[in-house]
Symmetry: C2
Subunit: 349 residues, 2 copies
DNA sequence: CTGAAAGCGCTTACAG
DNA sequence: CTGAAAGCGCTTACAG
């Protein structure tokens, strides 16, 4: 058979996907009809029952699959959410991403994830890429220094929710832990165990979540009349292990200047655990510790870690819910602070 | 100023993104010119230097950003890769996803990730969604029972690479560990330590990677003249902890029927560690163990785990490289088996 | 050599 | 009530 020859049916070009045009062509109607029927608007648009049946039949026969790209271009909506976080390989963010993925799917959205590595430059590239791909909205764990980039998204009126951190000066919706409270409770717990020389290990960052964790630490220390013992050590994100090792050397190994350590993030906790193991430090006798964010390692450490648990599920679900509301037109800024949960075990003494 | 009134410039509608048409309209040229210049084809298409300058200037002035959706529709290429894995919250897959993300970005691709939970149904939904979104190619960690779905992708001539597992009957490209060898070496190591009653804990799965791990175990046992001691316990993915506990009860706690355990996956290893901790079993004296895939927990367990390490980096990079080749037209099926690396520590005795 | 026109595959406002 | 025609924002084959 000559593929260019006349035939009852228009032959389908090899390798080409079947489109509404193909279905319409076979039946001899406009693509509009096909679109109505395939989108379940047959009734609404008063398409006859027989025609509806026929269109459905041919669509199924040709194994029609809608082209979401064409649909997106026409509708101006991609049913896609851009998720920017620090690092998908970090179990904390991996788990958060999973909750967001599932929740977004429930609402019919597909998620595109990108890792910023806490870098402003990478964040900018991700925002540009995802904006050009016309995501319907953003869920972002903002990196330090990205405030202007976040503002840019707001100016463009692209729906957005910040997660884990936020910028106090921006009227953006966010879902975050009450970090001040979390830190305060953690340090109170150490003080309650009789610890006096409590050091906080935090990242060197102006981001609010870190500042609040430090503020909670300071508040608890002052309340415990330990003002003179306040000792804050800031770690560089790009040199975690190196810096943590130096702090251990200074405060614990050579100096015995600390009797307790509060680790302000998950990765700092893990890094500290490696130091403790390397140096053979006895927990909690020589040093009491409290970590941040759950982690399997915390359970298997010989002295299971006391840690601040974040409600990841709630965080993920809430952020998707708020974002979808924004996408659906809600202009209301929603700022949620989640309650922390201190899991007390052996490591704090 | 009346927005409909005459003016030197066409006023831009509020909230609307600026398009090539807007730029073209301001200057009084066709969008074709604009497209050429903005895509760096000014030279090639012989657009005058002055015109090029003007277009670039206006584009920057209006803060033009290309609409990737329109571009995709027209070009038939989205510069997007669909990644389907078991669960992004699992650190093994999270780390793999991260390598793939970075590598894909280097080649100009954006990655859309989806978690199948090892379910055929979820896999099917993900494949359909991503196909309709016109991803340029797939990287898939196939779930059990998904062979027909994978075949479907091949029939549509959509570029694809399988990772971690594959189907021996399909001529699809893949990158996977040499699981037979990995398992063989792990069990040989246990035998070398004088263990005789070595049990393998594996998932109940017909997938090749699991079958190969079991086959490697059997081969090592037979070579060690331990044929009669071969003991394979299969765990249901949906009831991991329950099944693992039952096995521990039967083989170790009540029976002392095993002196060593080979855990055939990362999640089985973690589950077993929880049982060991709960029951206070002494490792390696009462029971020697070897796990699969690196994991921070393995380091912090009181007897650091001996485990089979997968070359994740290589796996991710190689799979992207092969996929990009396929997208660029290569029809050559590439099947890569990666060498395992046994990390020997205290847990194996 | 240059640039207007067609078309990717949809959806929906609008004319009849 | 019905369905043909316009248009989303690009790229590129093709006519002049």
């Amino acid at each position: 058979m000559n593929s260019k020859g006349p035939g009852v049916y228009k032959p389908l070009k090899m390798g080409k996907n079947v489109s509404m045009k193909d279905i319409a062509g076979r039946i001899g109607v406009s693509t509009a009809l096909v679109s109505f029927v395939l989108n379940g608007k047959a009734r609404e648009k008063r398409v006859g029952a027989e025609m509806t049946r026929k269109i459905l039949e041919v669509a199924s026969e040709l194994n029609y699959m809608p082209n979401q790209i064409a649909r997106s271009l026409r509708k101006g909506s991609t049913m896609t959410i851009g998720l920017i976080l620090a690092d998908i390989a970090n179990p904390f963010f991996g788990s958060l991403a999973r909750v967001i993925e599932d929740e977004a799917n429930k609402h019919g959205y597909t998620v595109i994830v990108g890792s910023s590595d806490e870098s402003k430059t990478k964040t900018e590239i991700l925002i540009t890429t995802l904006t050009n791909r016309k995501v319907d909205g953003f869920i972002i764990v903002p990196a330090e220094g990205s405030e202007e980039l976040i503002k840019g998204i707001m100016h463009k009126n692209i729906p957005m929710v910040l997660v884990d951190r936020f910028f106090p000066a921006l009227a953006a919706s966010y879902v975050a832990l009450d970090n001040y409270q979390a830190s305060y409770e953690a340090v109170r717990c150490l003080i309650g165990k009789g610890k006096m020389r409590i050091v906080i290990l935090a990242y060197r960052s102006s981001l609010i979540h870190m500042q609040q964790r430090i503020a909670g630490y300071i508040a608890a220390m002052e309340e415990g009349r330990l003002h003179d013992n306040i000792c804050i050590r800031e770690i560089r994100y790009e040199h975690v292990h190196e810096d943590v090792q130096r702090v251990f050397q200074e405060l614990i190994i050579s100096g015995k200047k600390a009797d307790a350590l509060f680790l302000a993030t998950n990765s700092l906790s893990v890094s500290a655990l490696y130091c403790i193991k390397e140096q053979g430090i006895k927990i909690p006798e020589e040093l009491a510790i409290v970590g941040f964010d759950g982690n399997e390692s915390f359970d298997f450490f010989y002295a299971p870690l006391t840690y601040v648990k974040q409600p990841l599920d709630e965080m993920g679900k809430e952020s998707v819910k708020i974002l979808v509301d924004h996408i659906n037109g809600s202009k209301k800024t929603v700022q949620v602070k989640l309650k922390p949960n201190l899991i007390i075990r052996e490591s704090c003494g």
